[in-house]
């Protein structure tokens, strides 16, 4: 009913003056940019993500250099410098998922969403503008975080234990895979936020999807599990940055399935946004 009313008002305004699609998109983008910039929890989440992802990766690498002399030959052979460096991403991804969710649920929480949707009745455009700003933000910050974690982590390992550089085969792919995973997680968080419409529900879903689901189901192998467990969002992410794949999907498949998750959730979120009240 509300969207009908809004459509009716748009029809009237269209008779008065028809803003071009470009102008409307630019207006939506600048409105979203102001809101994103002024979101306090955005900055807090990103700073915490940087401190945790870089600091904990360095701590884990440092701990390995200390424990190296206690390892037997088999553990030394099994040691993988890149995995040790990125292992904390199983937690780091949560910051990005929550960041995406907060970008939109904050607006539902304080009621601003009603003003936003009155100003931009093209709800699809509103969501597209949000996503268009979130992607570069998440991409740049995850790239900075991942490269910093990689360079400092390998720097700590160097000289004591085996380490890798970006030039080694496969390394750059894993680094880029980690950046892609974190960025995709922020979009998944955004779409979950639109579907859930509340910070509490969205954050619970993000932690459930990226952390708890894997803990509960990871011990199951064979049969139907062999074809489902590797496609849990967190396992897809692991496939992108872990170097020993085990039962995980191949990196290419993982990237494609992760992209498919984002697209499907995006479509569901758009329909849910257009058909439900704010």
């Amino acid at each position: 009913m509300m969207s009908e009313t809004i459509q009716a008002t748009t029809a009237t305004s269209r008779r008065r003056a028809t803003p071009s699609a470009l102008l409307r998109a630019r207006a939506a983008l600048s409105a979203e940019w102001i809101k994103l910039r002024s979101l306090r929890s955005m900055l807090v989440t990103l700073v915490l993500a940087a401190v945790f992802c870089i600091g904990y990766a360095d701590l884990l690498c440092w701990r390995f250099t200390l424990r190296w002399h206690t390892f037997d030959a088999a553990s030394k052979a099994a040691f993988n410098p890149l995995d040790t460096n990125f292992n904390d991403l199983v937690i780091g991804v949560l910051f990005f998922g929550v960041l995406g969710a907060l970008v939109v649920t904050n607006e539902y929480g304080n009621g601003l969403i009603r003003t936003t949707l009155a100003a931009t009745p093209q709800r699809g455009l509103f969501l597209a503008a949000k996503a268009a700003l979130l992607v570069p933000l998440a991409l740049v910050s995850s790239a900075v975080i991942i490269f910093a974690a990689f360079l400092t982590g390998q720097g700590i390992l160097a000289g004591h234990v085996p380490h890798v550089t970006l030039a080694d085969p496969g390394v750059l792919g894993r680094v880029l895979g980690a950046i892609f995973y974190l960025t995709a997680a922020s979009l998944i968080g955004l779409f979950i936020g639109v579907i859930a419409r509340s910070a509490a529900a969205a954050m619970t879903c993000v932690f459930g999807a990226f952390l708890v689901l894997e803990t509960l189901l990871d011990s199951l192998h064979g049969g139907v599990w062999q074809h489902t467990v590797p496609y849990l969002p967190s396992n897809l992410g692991n496939a992108l940055w872990l170097s020993h794949s085990g039962s995980l999907a191949s990196p290419t498949v993982a990237a494609l399935v992760l992209a498919a998750y984002v697209i499907v959730l995006g479509v569901v979120a758009t329909f849910s946004l257009r058909s439900r009240d704010a």
Binding site: A199, A200, T204, G208, T215
Partner: protein, 274 residues
């Protein structure tokens, strides 16, 4: 209520009257938390379904398991493992029971009506704990029986009368109640939904993973003192780990975390604005 300051005759309202009034208003608010029924429903799905999935899996694949994993297989823990998923929802329920009131601003009305703020929080916690405990204990028993019905010889299984089993199954409900209370008191401390949820999930779900990444002996030693891995001992039959804590020792660790959150919550709620 608001007459308390104005009219002298009411000022002497007995403690019992006051408690009853607070209990009634807290009960109405608890009942009308919109996501409450959804959370209780979610736990009612997660616990039995996880028991069905996991016990069905192990019952079916028992022959292919290694002797070591057969020896460490805990039929009670596996049938109650859904608690690890359900705690997400119960904990979030505890948080929003409090922070929802701060978000909507109702908390100001509540504290004007009942200036004894500690009493409000205590009543909130009591009502929350009673409902969650009753509900989760029922679900814990349901999950146990579903799980054991799917584990038949040669797979390891137990009866409710076997030593330690009843404690573990009751423990499932107790564990979830304490997790909810931890969320509730963190909610009082932080007053904002996202911050409180992040803190609760951080302590409960992220810390075991983070400690696990450390590796080595340190990791095993620290793990037992986390609310999640410590508290879980109450619904396990086999106890392992660096210090082999028993069910009640592990549970005491979780209870200590709740107490550490509750003490400043009761103190600060009286001093800070709403």
């Amino acid at each position: 209520m608001s007459a308390q300051a104005g009219t002298a005759p009411y000022a002497g309202a007995s403690l019992e009257t006051r408690f009853r009034a607070t209990a009634r208003s807290e009960w109405i608010k608890f009942r009308s938390v919109r996501s409450g029924p959804a959370v209780l429903l979610a736990t009612a799905v997660i616990l039995p379904v996880t028991a069905w999935l996991l016990c069905g899996y192990y019952g079916h694949n028992w022959a292919t398991m290694s002797p070591a994993s057969k020896a460490s297989f805990d039929p009670v823990f596996i049938s109650l493992r859904g608690i690890e998923g359900a705690q997400l929802f119960v904990g979030a329920f505890g948080v929003i029971t409090v922070t929802g009131e701060y978000t909507s601003g109702l908390i100001r009305g509540t504290f004007i009506a009942t200036p004894q703020r500690a009493q409000v929080i205590a009543m909130k916690a009591t009502i929350f704990a009673a409902v969650v405990w009753a509900w989760c204990t029922i679900l814990s028993f349901a999950a146990f029986f579903i799980g054991q019905s799917l584990l038949s010889s040669p797979a390891k299984h137990v009866a409710i009368g076997d030593p330690g089993v009843l404690t573990a199954v009751f423990g499932g409900g107790l564990y979830l109640t304490l997790v909810g209370l931890l969320g509730l008191f963190i909610g009082v401390l932080l007053r904002r939904t996202p911050a409180a949820l992040a803190a609760l999930f951080g302590i409960l779900l992220v810390s075991p993973v983070a400690i696990g990444l450390l590796g080595g002996k340190l990791s095993a030693q620290l793990a037992e003192f986390l609310p999640d891995s410590g508290g879980e001992e109450i619904f396990k039959l086999l106890h392992s780990g660096a210090y082999t804590l028993g069910p009640w020792q592990g549970f005491a660790i979780l209870a200590a975390y709740v107490a550490v959150a509750a003490a400043p919550a009761f103190l600060l709620v009286r001093r800070r604005d709403a």
